[in-house]
């Protein structure tokens, strides 16, 4: 097991280096002079030079890259010239909100998705199953920004049941304020979850031990909850793990719709205000986050399955 973890970590290293390379070179995608883009058209050469010096772009590329990565282990991700804060301070303050939102969304998706998948699998090829499948096709095409906006318009503005935006404070405040954003996130993920879960449930139901349980006279409901569901949970966890990258991406849009001050909304605002260093730092954080999740899923999965060592 320790071998496996070590190997996975070693495999992740080139990807990590790749992530830093990509985020580093991002700034060089800026057309023209980043300093001029920051300072405006009327800036004097002296101001431009000082901004270039502050950004560090007056040095050779290799030095710049070294400067960029040498600060990373100490958590130095750059500086936001528009928010007048270091990126690491911003991430530290805002990442928890994003993680709360994503986990909340996943939980809502599970609460909604597991019963749906269960019904769909138990009543396979019935009218109900086809109805659920049809609804999911629509669900797959729902733009999260649109469904989020409709939820705001109807549940928050019309009926006044929920707050319109923001993240609230404290755990209860988070639960309350982030319900609609989390629901939006859950809806955008529900179709994928239910489809995959349904397939793995059907697979489990066709196994001999389920037939045996039924033949032994164990009540159907108990068979489904105790025998089938338990075995379908591992694939469900894998599906969620594999889609966390997607969920993090979707959270960017959702945070923007509900003006939740997580790192996703911060990224959008940084992009809109052309705060290049902040964009760079946040992209790096997202990349590392996904890498960590993938690693965790890989290792737990290998640890859980008896054939894990071979995978």
């Amino acid at each position: 097991m320790r071998h496996l973890i070590l190997r996975r970590l070693l495999q992740a290293l080139p990807v990590l280096i790749g992530i830093t390379l990509v985020t580093f070179s991002m700034v060089h995608l800026v057309p023209g002079d980043p300093a001029r883009a920051l300072a405006g058209q009327r800036a004097t050469p002296q101001i431009l030079a000082s901004i270039r010096h502050q950004l560090g772009i007056d040095k050779p590329l290799v030095t710049q890259y070294w400067h960029f990565i040498s600060g990373l282990p100490r958590g130095q991700l750059g500086y936001s010239f528009l928010l007048h804060q270091t990126t690491d301070a911003l991430v530290l303050a805002r990442l928890p909100t994003t993680l709360f939102l994503v986990i909340y969304g996943v939980l809502i998706a599970i609460v909604l998705g597991v019963p749906l998948a269960m019904i769909s699998a138990v009543r396979k090829e019935s009218l109900l199953d086809h109805g659920i499948k049809g609804t999911l096709v629509v669900g797959l095409g729902l733009p999260s920004f649109w469904i989020g906006l409709l939820l705001v318009g109807f549940l928050a503005l019309r009926l006044g049941w929920f707050p319109v935006g923001g993240a609230g404070s404290g755990f209860i405040g988070h639960l309350w304020h982030l319900f609609l954003p989390a629901l939006t996130l859950a809806l955008s993920f529900l179709a994928v979850l239910v489809r995959n879960l349904r397939a793995s449930l059907i697979e489990v139901m066709d196994t001999d031990f389920v037939s045996l349980a039924v033949l032994k006279g164990i009540p159907r409901l108990r068979v489904y909850t105790r025998h089938v569901m338990r075995n379908a949970l591992i694939p469900a966890v894998t599906i969620i793990g594999l889609n966390l990258s997607y969920l993090l991406g979707a959270s960017v849009v959702v945070e923007s719709v509900f003006s939740v001050d997580g790192i996703g909304n911060t990224l959008v605002n940084a992009v809109l205000s052309r705060d290049y260093q902040l964009v760079q730092g946040l992209a790096l954080v997202f990349g590392v986050l996904v890498l960590l999740v993938t690693l965790t899923v890989d290792i737990t999965h290998a640890g859980l399955s008896p054939r894990g060592e071979m995978a």
Binding site: V30, P143, W146
Partner: protein, 305 residues
């Protein structure tokens, strides 16, 4: 898909015999499979929906009685009714006309994003899988790195750094999205490299180009094609999302995501501003999904047969 005959003889083929080296071909029924199969209904609905949307987009000037960009302050924020089916926005522009015209740009975005990713990804996937070695390794590490980022985060960052606009969106997505196709095609190529008919084709001393183009490509192309048909949904949502965030299509060109954004400040009272363009996205996405799901099911059946 088709059976490959093991072994080979030097005799030339006579017309009556079954082909010795049955080279799998891209059958029309793989792409247009609504003639048979259980999925025919969903595929048929999908194609019909998509056909209607395309027709509406192409013949937009004939369908709409109003211009999509003409301002009319007297008729601002009118509710949906007989004069304006979908109502009007804060400038008095007809939402119906804007929604129909926007179909043009949204469909073009979806198709061009997917076809670019498909072509680059398939080509690089074939090269990586065929060449193996260092080239394969380097390409696959690039794929790993690209997949390490949430797709939307990478696209938004690149678009933002390059400056908002359609060209930036197109560039950003092209830089990233080919990796999905490359990975898919590469694994197909790795599997097929040692198939009997491939060995036979190579043993026949055909040129590498001929082996690749006539023997390998027709076999590996199905998977990325099926993937592309469901990828259209994601491309559509991606284009709309980026435009919603103000980074894609710029006003006054009507685009669905951007229209939803425009109407967002009115969502409490004048819901129609955002509702109809969003609904158009859903209907288009459903059409793509129905086609994509049907094709995927067909491909599974095809490989199981």
């Amino acid at each position: 898909m088709t059976t490959a005959h093991p072994g080979m003889s030097g005799k030339p083929r006579s017309p009556g015999q079954p082909p010795l080296l049955a080279r799998p071909v891209l059958r029309a029924s793989a792409i247009l499979p609504f003639l048979r199969g259980r999925e025919r209904i969903s595929i048929l609905i999908g194609y019909t929906l998509l056909g209607l949307i395309v027709i509406a987009a192409v013949f937009a000037p004939l369908i709409c009685t109003y211009s999509p960009t003409a301002l009319n302050p007297i008729a601002a924020l009118e509710a949906p009714g007989t004069a304006h089916f979908f109502g009007t926005d804060q400038f008095g522009r007809d939402i119906f006309a804007r929604t129909v015209y926007a179909a043009r740009i949204d469909l073009i975005i979806a198709f061009s994003l997917v076809s670019t990713a498909f072509m680059i990804g398939t080509a690089l996937g074939v090269i990586a899988g065929w060449a193996g070695g260092l080239l394969d390794n380097v390409l696959m590490r690039i794929v790993d790195v690209a997949l390490a980022f949430p797709f939307l985060v990478l696209v938004i960052s690149i678009v933002g750094l390059r400056g908002p606009g359609l060209l930036s969106l197109y560039l950003a997505v092209s830089i990233v999205s080919w990796v999905f196709y490359a990975r898919l095609v590469r694994s197909e190529v790795r599997q097929l490299r040692h198939a009997d008919y491939m060995l036979a084709a190579k043993a026949s001393d055909y040129s590498a180009l001929r082996v690749l183009a006539r023997h390998l490509l027709p076999n590996v192309i199905i998977q990325p094609l099926v993937y592309a048909s469901s990828d259209l949904v994601y491309a559509l949502l991606l284009g709309a999302s980026v435009s919603y965030l103000g980074l894609g299509v710029q006003p006054p060109t009507p685009e669905w995501g951007q229209m939803v954004q425009d109407g967002s400040t009115f969502i409490g009272a004048q819901w129609w501003l955002s509702f109809f363009p969003g609904a158009a996205i859903v209907v288009t996405a459903v059409a793509f999904s129905l086609i994509g799901d049907g094709l995927a099911a067909r491909a599974r059946e095809g490989s199981a047969r």
